[in-house]
């Protein structure tokens, strides 16, 4: 009995963190339901979820990096790189699909490792480092494909992106499976605690004997592997590898993470919040599309929402620190 009580209580406290966010999300859905009869339909919901998947998975990776006190602007280029890499190796070189996918994930992880090493060893700001590596990784994608898209028609490969389990397409399943995986890593392992400690106060983490270098490398690697995976299934879904595939994705990933309550300063945030953030942003796009509003307007609305969310985070942080 006390066990159930405890679980209920912990659910209540968990829920409290997301209250504002969920409320906003529900209100938004309600608004779109009233405005458009097509919004709350099974097809549309499945559609939205699929659209959200890409951004959500990228944002999971961003959450790891931001929780540890960093940022990764190179994920878009990693998506592009993985895309071209897979398409080129499968179509032009005829290499076996499983090997290519495995290689793409490994190399993707290595790119993240490179980000982490440069950031830890040089002390250059993560923002600058990943801005630079973004150009490098993106450039590599262009170099491999000579700047042109590479068509990839391969039953085994394409099913990674186009397959579905009943009415639910694979990307949506990835999104939820990875959510659980990320949740477990962050909340149920020592590494997860260490990520929060390093992001919350690197000096204190160091004096507590935490290997800061290791934690940073792991977070950047996780982020990179997730980005590469996104590149892979998106390419499979579109039958085409594109060197420009990820070029605009980093903005939404950062936006979802921040809107989901992860602090830019690190050490604060949760993966479930990130998913809700991604859903919020996805629903705005979808709802406004249904209403026939232009994508420019969508950007404007998104911009305000990000500002609002970060403002709330800043104010609550300031309140905390003033009490000190």
């Amino acid at each position: 009995m006390p066990e159930t009580k405890r679980i209920l209580k912990s659910l209540k406290t968990r829920f409290k963190d997301y209250l504002g966010l969920l409320l906003g999300f529900v209100l938004l859905c309600l608004l779109f339901t009233l405005l458009s009869s097509r919004f709350l339909t099974t097809t549309n919901i499945l559609n939205v979820l699929r659209q959200i998947a890409v951004n959500a998975i990228l944002a999971y990776g961003m959450t790891f990096v931001m929780l540890s006190g960093g940022i990764d602007l190179s994920i878009g280029s990693m998506v592009s790189f993985a895309s071209i890499f897979c398409a080129y190796l499968i179509s032009n070189l005829g290499m076996p699909v499983y090997l290519v996918v495995l290689l793409a994930l490994l190399i993707g992880g290595a790119l993240g490792l490179v980000n982490g090493i440069i950031i830890s060893k040089t002390g250059i700001w993560p923002f600058i480092v990943t801005l630079a590596t973004s150009l490098i990784f993106g450039g590599l994608a262009y170099a491999i494909s000579n700047g042109t898209p590479v068509r990839v028609m391969n039953e085994t490969f394409n099913v990674i992106g186009t397959g579905s389990l009943g009415p639910v397409s694979f990307p949506v399943i990835y999104m939820f499976v990875l959510l659980i995986l990320c949740y477990v890593i962050l909340q149920k392992t020592r590494l997860g605690r260490q990520v929060y400690a390093v992001g919350g106060n690197p000096e204190a983490a160091y004096f507590s004997g935490i290997n800061i270098l290791k934690v940073r490398l792991v977070t950047y690697t996780i982020c990179a592997v997730l980005a590469s995976f996104t590149g892979i299934f998106l390419t499979a879904r579109m039958y085409t590898g594109q060197p420009t595939l990820g070029s605009t994705m980093v903005n939404d990933a950062i936006a979802s993470t921040v809107v989901g309550g992860t602090s830019m300063a690190g050490g604060k945030g949760r993966i479930v919040g990130t998913l809700i953030g991604a859903m919020l942003i996805g629903v705005i796009s979808n709802g406004m599309n249904l209403l026939g509003l232009s994508s420019y307007l969508q950007d404007i609305v998104k911009g305000f929402i990000i500002l609002g969310a970060v403002y709330i985070d800043t104010v609550s942080t300031r309140k905390l620190e003033q009490k000190a």
Binding site: Y196, N201, S208, G209, K323
Partner: protein, 503 residues
Amino acid sequence: MHLLEMKNIRKTFPGVVAVDDVSITLDRGEVLALLGENGAGKSTLIKVLAGVHSKDEGEILIDGRTCRIDSPVDALNEGIAVIYQELCLANDMTVSENIFMGRELRNRFGFLDKRRMEEESQRILDSLGVEFPASAVLRSLSIAQKQTVEIAKCISRNAKIIIMDEPTSSLTSNEVRMLFTLIGKLKSEGIGMIYISHRMEELFEICDRVTVLRDGRSVGTKVIRETNRDELVSMMVGRTLSHYYVKDDNVQDEVVLEVKDLVSYASPHPASFFLRKGEILGFSGLVGAGRSELMKTIFGAARRLSGKVFINGHEVDIRSPSDAIAHDLAMISEERHREGLVLRNTVSFNVSLLVLRQFISHLHVDQRKEDDIVKKQIDDLAIRVSGLNQMAVNLSGGNQQKVVLAKWLTRTPSIIIMDEPTRGIDVSAKAEIYSIMNSLTAKGCSIIMVSSELPEIIGMCDRVVVMSEGAMTAVLERKDLTQETLMHYALLTPGTKEEKANA
């Protein structure tokens, strides 16, 4: 009529009276020294004068006229300039740009008049007799030269009163000579100066009078020629010891830690000492004497240049805090906020951080186990929290310190290094920390306590190492501990005859 008169100044911070009923006077062409232990109220008094803190009570008169000083700008307008220990200059700008920062001269088109500013700056630099040009980029200058730029800045602002906070702390002896020449020049021009320094010899050389502060109150003002070092020392420390030190003799014969000829990055002087089981070994000295650096080196958080460390008779090679932790060392750092706590996380998160292995395994967090670990510490140390999930940032200083202590005690360390363990916490929390220290040593734990508070050193330590300017100047037994002796060795310049005889 005095150039400056501060009358009955009182300044309180939540829970602390930092300055209480202090009055000082300063005349034209005079150098007044402010002397006192750390925490005696010197900085607060200066910050009140500089407009950084607003006073609660009292009056400030300049040339006999009452002034309102509510902000640094007010202070500057009244001709008061402060040269802080940490210089406030822009490293990538030129000397003249720094001198005119915030009040740049403009030509008739409204653009910056770079030429006139440089000429003006050069004139001031020449009058000070320095060798670098006004067009030099600040980064290329030595610390002493940068300090001269600060002084030039004060002069160009027509400052009547210049306050110098520990101006010689990072200067070589040659540079100190040059600074003193400069101070002589400023004196002859009628500028009044307030000089803060721990280096007693300097005061006798350049100051006219000295005001001694203790515990936020003024103990007295002396004309420097009519006093001597011993009198000033006893004025600085002359308070009675309180009764709140809980101290039993728990020292056992076994040596748990031995440091041999350790040279840290911060000082060329090697340090050697040992620590026995159940002992509290104090490290006394003034701020900047190199004690924290030595401790960080032992703990692996700073690079060891040479020397050996033995734990329980075995040589150990500690290269990082995690190595140190593996050898059952703990370190309660001087900077609680920066190095001790994850402030924006919970009490529970902070306390359990070192023993994650005990309750997180196989993708499962044993929440009950974690709660038990944390609760035990909260009970043992009587930490006052509203719950396990209270944010660390919302605790009082004393409770924050206890959380840091609790974090380390979850590992039952055999040696604990405590750097200024009671800094910034109130008296009752201090007493609690002392009694925790005593019960730890009763259980066979050994403690190194770095402290700048003499009563605490005398009250709690079995033996005391005194350091001055990066070197050990004495090792004193408990029976020999007096404030005067400790202060004497803390002020000793290493390398002198007397030091060699005693160390």
